[in-house]
Symmetry: C2
Subunit: 452 residues, 2 copies
């Protein structure tokens, strides 16, 4: 067993945690991966220099490092590994806004919501909005290239990252990009780190592009008899416009949300769509009318409101899908996607898999992007239930791949989906991934066992 004392001595008191009880909460992310290991120590870094110290120590001793933000990941990307060093960025939470350059300079432990709030003070907006935005970290968002609800119109995390400070596998700190909007000097390494799930380096500072504050939104809630009809309406809407939100909840999710926080959603609907437009004035009315018509064309009952508070209630209902479902049992969390026109086929395939394996798979979806979250509910105390759930989990990923889709649209591969990655990428692209990984982390100490 490696002696941790020299690392403890080289960092300020309280930075390195080795007590088992205190380390317990650093073992898991929200996927509650029961195979998560026990770390040797947790480094609660206060600045980039301390991250460098920890990485240099780990590199010297050949010890694996699991970087960690707020621990809200959904694919086990920050699950601890036995004998590893967890490097937690939770204490690095500073956010500064440069209103003239319209950028935020954030430490990785800052919550997505912290950046949004700081930006709003200057009438600016940081769009990417994972459902967990109030409790997920910007560093984690960068690690997974996180999406969210408004991404159908405003894009994902990588579209907003202008600069990164990254501690590499040997402890070197590099600064990539900056406050300039356009920059093509050298290889696009900045983009290589966004979505690399902590396998290539540890991000210690992020420069994020901000945009003018979002305009007023109108909200549509449409109630469909079947999931297929809702999915068909999504395709019809996307064919004519780009709404600022286009989300789907199936009946099981609606009922779970109603059980969790009742707000009068239609429990009998096969599926609900929740859509928004933030276009200016008359254009917004036109977009809402077009969406209403597309939904009506699939037999939906449609409710529209221009009241932002009322609209926000429906969006909150959508966001509470995950915590609501968590109360129904253990969950295997999917994040599969397909080209938008194939969304109906993907949802059909998921329903078929649920029936075939006798498991419940409630679905919420960033439908406008073709990105779905089928959440497989199972009873962790029943081995057969778990076995069937895991089969369904694999089959859902295969179904997405068969449709030209992906096993993960925004959560990342993490440890939960690593086994399925070769099926999507094939041997040549896997080899290419490995070559880049080996070039940047020849010892393989950065987030071992995750992502690739």
């Amino acid at each position: 067993m490696t002696n941790i004392d020299d690392l403890v001595a080289s960092l300020p008191e309280g930075v390195v945690v080795t007590e088992p009880d205190a380390m317990e909460k650093y073992r898991f992310d929200w996927s509650r991966d029961q195979s998560a290991g026990t770390p040797l120590a947790v480094v609660r870094a206060e600045d980039a220099g301390q991250v460098q110290t920890a990485v240099r120590w780990a590199a010297e001793h050949g010890i694996g490092i699991v970087p960690r933000g707020a621990g809200s990941g959904l694919s086990g990307g920050s699950s601890a590994v036995d004998g590893c060093l967890v490097v937690s960025l939770e204490r690095m939470r500073a956010v500064q806004i440069d209103p003239a350059s319209q950028v935020a300079v954030a430490e990785p432990g800052a919550f997505n919501a912290d950046v949004k709030r700081a930006a709003a003070e200057h009438d600016l907006w940081y769009p990417p909005d994972p459902s967990s935005f109030e409790i997920c970290s910007i560093g984690g968002n960068v690690a997974t290239n996180a999406g969210g609800l408004c991404c159908v119109k405003y894009g994902v995390t990588t579209d907003y990252v202008l600069g990164l400070d990254v501690v590499l596998a040997d402890g070197t700190l590099v600064e990539l990009g900056g406050k300039r909007i356009k920059d093509v000097a050298g290889l696009p390494l900045l983009k290589l780190f966004v979505g690399s799930e902590g396998t290539l380096g540890i991000v210690t500072r992020v420069i994020l592009r901000l945009v003018p504050r979002q305009g007023a939104r109108s909200t549509l809630v449409a109630s469909f008899a079947t999931v297929r009809q809702a999915a068909d309406a999504v395709v019809a809407i996307r064919a004519v416009l780009r709404p600022s939100m286009l989300e789907l909840m199936d009946r099981a999710t609606v009922n779970a949300v109603e059980d969790y926080k009742p707000m009068g959603l239609d429990r009998t609907a096969g599926a609900l769509l929740i859509a928004q437009s933030d276009a200016p004035a008359a254009a917004r009315s036109a977009e809402m009318a077009a969406m209403e018509s597309a939904c009506a064309g699939q037999g939906a009952e449609v409710f529209v409101t221009d009241d932002p508070d009322e609209g926000e209630l429906f969006v909150q209902a959508r966001r509470s899908g995950f915590p609501a479902l968590e109360r129904r049992g253990s969950l295997l969390l999917e994040d599969v996607g397909a080209p938008v026109p194939l969304l109906p086929d993907l949802l059909d395939a998921i329903a078929e898999i649920a029936e075939r394996h006798g498991v419940e798979i409630p679905v919420v979806a960033h439908a406008g992007d073709g990105n779905t979250h089928p959440n497989i509910v199972y009873d962790a105390t029943d081995p057969d239930s778990e076995r069937r759930a895991r089969l369904a989990f694999d089959h859902v990923m295969s179904a997405a791949i068969a449709l030209g889709g992906t096993i993960t649209g925004e959560h990342g591969v993490g440890r939960a989906k690593r086994a399925a990655l070769p099926e999507q990428l094939g041997p040549d692209v896997m080899a290419l991934n490995r070559r880049v990984k080996d070039a940047l982390d020849p010892q393989g100490i950065l987030n071992p066992g995750a992502a690739l």
Copy 2:
């Protein structure tokens, strides 16, 4: 000298060109780099399989490959190297639109304008619009992560690339991404190739995201007494809105354009801004009013038109900046950028450098992005003029770096700016570039001498 006969024999007749006269036009791009070498042969590939054949042959013989699209690059990224194989993609020009998925599937030799036209037939739009869009290739756009005029609102090439087929340095063909909008499975290798200037692989197919057709545009032309005032107006505009175009031309450029194609621009102005809004109806009026007010605040005379044809004339004038300046002498083409609030300082620095070295440096700029094109005019028959021009070229890049900017915002490093790259990136980031390059192209045969 390597015998090319086996390559000639392994490809259909007419694919491999070895006659010196026929190869001449494949030696240069638009930067007219006089140090361009003479290739061993030019492979005018008709499909990805032929590209693979050429790359495998080159890999076997350790011969450098210079990939080439339409040859409209401005930084010598496709200048030939002595004894290399030029792989020209000019014959691979197919474009297919999938309107349901809202994507274009394009071969790399297709012109940017071909994609735009094909998309328009389905009421869709491919936004990135380099000034050269009518004669530049999509493959070249991907290689440089090309920008353009509408990028201030709509982003650059990388924001639209959903999928790439790439022939790697050993001839392997990999398919990255696809028609799905969101996909975070594996390292973001797709993004690594966009802007890699042909140094990591040769793109043989591109899947591009399309968006609904652009709305009607209003155009503003503002005439300022000084460049500084125009730049200050740009900062003021960007503080409150995101126009769909925000371009600057200085007096020398305006006069060159008027000499080239007279259209009554104000020859006495220190600088013109040409701005557009494509916001819907009332919002467009509001944006135009805000821009007008920001310009008037800097003492500008402002002309506004809602007539699209009239507006397009001004945009064409801006686009003709480069051909117009070409007639005034030899050019060293800059592409430096800075954070938007520092644009006035960058333009001041450029003017000072021009005066110090006694050279003319007309400037056009994608001002809203802080991306400028100072074009250094010199007399190629006068060694002292060329010497002073080259000094100015280097000093302009240094000035951009000193302001936290970049030596290239959209043209790429190519061969013209390779010597300056370490000054911007520093030794650690250069080493990181080199590590990725070596991992993907260990023999160093892909575009040797370019980019890094």
